[in-house]
Amino acid sequence: MLEKALTGSKKYWAWICLLLAVIAVGFYAYLNQFNNGLGVTGMSRDVSWGLYIAQFTFLVGVAASAVMLVLPYYLHDFKKFGKMVILGEFLAIPAVIMCMLFIVVDLGQPMRIMNVILYPSPRSVMFYDMCVLIGYLCINLVVGWTTLGAERKGTPPPAWVKPIIYLSIPWAVSIHTVTAFLYAGLPGHHLWLSAIMAARFLASAFAAGPAILILLCLIVRQVSKFNPDPEGGAIQSLVKIVRYAMIANVFFFVLELFTAFYSNIPEYSASLRYIFFGLDGHSNLVPFMWTAVFLAFAGILLLVFPQTRKNGKILPFALLAIIIANWIDKGMILIVAGFVPNSFERVVEYTPTLNEILVTLGVYGIGLLLITVLYKVAISVREEKDS
């Protein structure tokens, strides 16, 4: 089926070339990092994880969000999602691959990555994260490819794929839970050391992920003859999922704020004071945090009222607000602020370097290229069948 990605309009090829250019720039920046070490990034002894690990965290959520289509469609027989499920699975695959790439670009010795498999360490959460991510990638590749292949031939998907589809549901939850455990089990970082971390991760994932998916569906509608929501209502159902997940996400975050500030234990609130008000005169993240707060509430409000939620012009902006709020929260603040203040209660701030940003854009470029190719295949199969 991949051959379908090799034919396309001029616009399609222009888009592909643009992505390849972005990837090339990112790759060049990565070569610089590879040769000169992670010193070319803004990371330091005090903030030892930065933009890369934050993107990894955000994208695990995007990958997991496919379950918000798979679960209603396969478990509750919610037929309206029928045309969209494949788009969810084909979003999960590039998202997981981007996660893996962000881990690789973050390594000081990437050539030794196989050591994780050569010396498996079952006490390390990182080991389990590797297992669940590889598993999730395989599941989505198999499920996505076989269901689309069957559809192309006009046959129902083979029976053996059903159990794998059901397996993908708890597996999706597991990838984000394990990712939360990477942080939530570490002593000494009070921003992370919280039982609600995994729940918060899932809530934000089920808000941001489907929001991205809806935007992709709207784009698919614009650029192709394939309509992922032919009966109408599928997108609005997904919008409701986004809304409730985002409300849960904000609620969980407020729980964190209550515990930290009402208990009045200084260590518990130090990182939160840093992101909301600044600490010891350092306030790099403050404007971003308040932007996220504003966007989160604006997004929720726009999705609550039917007039705005069903307005085709407003909906994309509401979703964008939700996505950006979640990205700031997870893709920027959570990881970095976990290191502030440091183990010596000193504030050392982190600012990503240009090289680091270019590498990040390069990885996103690879992800977008994969999404484009996979979506092109799915769309072509559908268009072929419809005509």
Binding site: G37, L38, L107, Q109, R112, L118, G188
Partner: protein, 266 residues
């Protein structure tokens, strides 16, 4: 003369097999030698323990030089580079003030002099090391004598151990450290860029029957010994004097104890 495809493949295969065999034979011999050599030194000179620990007697650290002497001895011996900036900084043992070393919980009326009094900090060689648990390749591991050690050749540089360590004891080689070493010490290997490192309680010196470099240079300020041995000096101090540890509430059981306000000890 020409050979056909089949002959070529057969000969190539035979040569390859021979090559592998040779390699196994060679490394086999080498491994045996190394094992024998290690055992020899262990029997002859090494100082052994089941729970190495350190007591920092703060009364012995009075001048700037008392601190610098110790740090310099360690950093020179272990080829710790000097990047001259805090971002890439690598440190194994260094001084920080009371207020930051023992973060949290001190009273607000504490005299400025005490708040800013310097303390010697290093890896705590915890009994329950979170860094060892976090490491996905077992590049950081706990030895039978309690020392939390590192294999620089296995470390993939994921820095999970740095996030896991609540004491900020670990440093990462953000750059190639070799150009920043003033004088290379032949006693300990230099590192490559992209790996984590930290204090190792000088296991390479213990194996030769020597005390850690910092202890040797501390004029009695650092006392090193086996906590499991009831007759050791460290055990006597820890049992009978008032000592404090960094962040004991986290349950990692740090093995570096600070003796404060007492100059005569067991």
């Amino acid at each position: 003369m020409s050979i056909n495809r089949r002959q070529f493949l057969r000969r190539a295969g035979m040569l390859t097999a021979l090559g592998f065999g040779g390699a196994v034979a060679f490394t086999g011999f080498r491994k045996k030698e190394v094992a024998e050599a290690a055992e020899y030194s262990l029997k002859q000179k090494a100082v052994l323990a089941t729970r190495w620990a350190m007591v920092v007697d703060m009364s012995k650290f009075k001048t700037e030089d008392d601190f610098n002497r110790v740090t310099e001895a360690c950093h020179r011996l272990h080829n710790v580079p000097d990047f001259k900036n805090t971002k890439d900084e690598i440190k194994w043992i260094w001084k920080d003030d009371y207020h930051h070393s023992f973060a949290g919980g001190h009273n607000q009326y504490l005299d400025e002099h005490i708040v800013h009094s310097p303390f010697m900090v290093l890896c705590n060689h915890c009994e329950n090391p979170p860094c060892v648990k976090a490491c996905p390749t077992q590049a950081t591991f706990k030895r039978r004598d309690g020392i939390v050690a590192m294999d620089f050749h296995r470390c993939i540089g994921c820095r999970f151990c740095m996030a896991a360590c609540p004491f900020g004891a670990r440093s990462f080689n953000f750059k190639d450290p070799r150009p920043f070493i003033n004088e290379v010490s032949p006693e300990y290997p230099t590192r490559t860029a992209g790996v984590v490192e930290k204090c190792n309680f000088c296991y390479e010196r213990l194996a030769k029957g020597e005390q850690p470099a910092c202890v040797e240079k501390s004029n009695g300020g650092l006392i090193f010994g086996d906590l499991d041995n009831p007759n050791s000096e460290v055990r006597k101090i820890v049992s009978t004097k008032f000592t404090i540890r960094r962040k004991p509430e986290l349950g990692t059981q740090p093995c570096v104890y600070y003796l404060v306000g007492g100059d005569d000890h067991a």
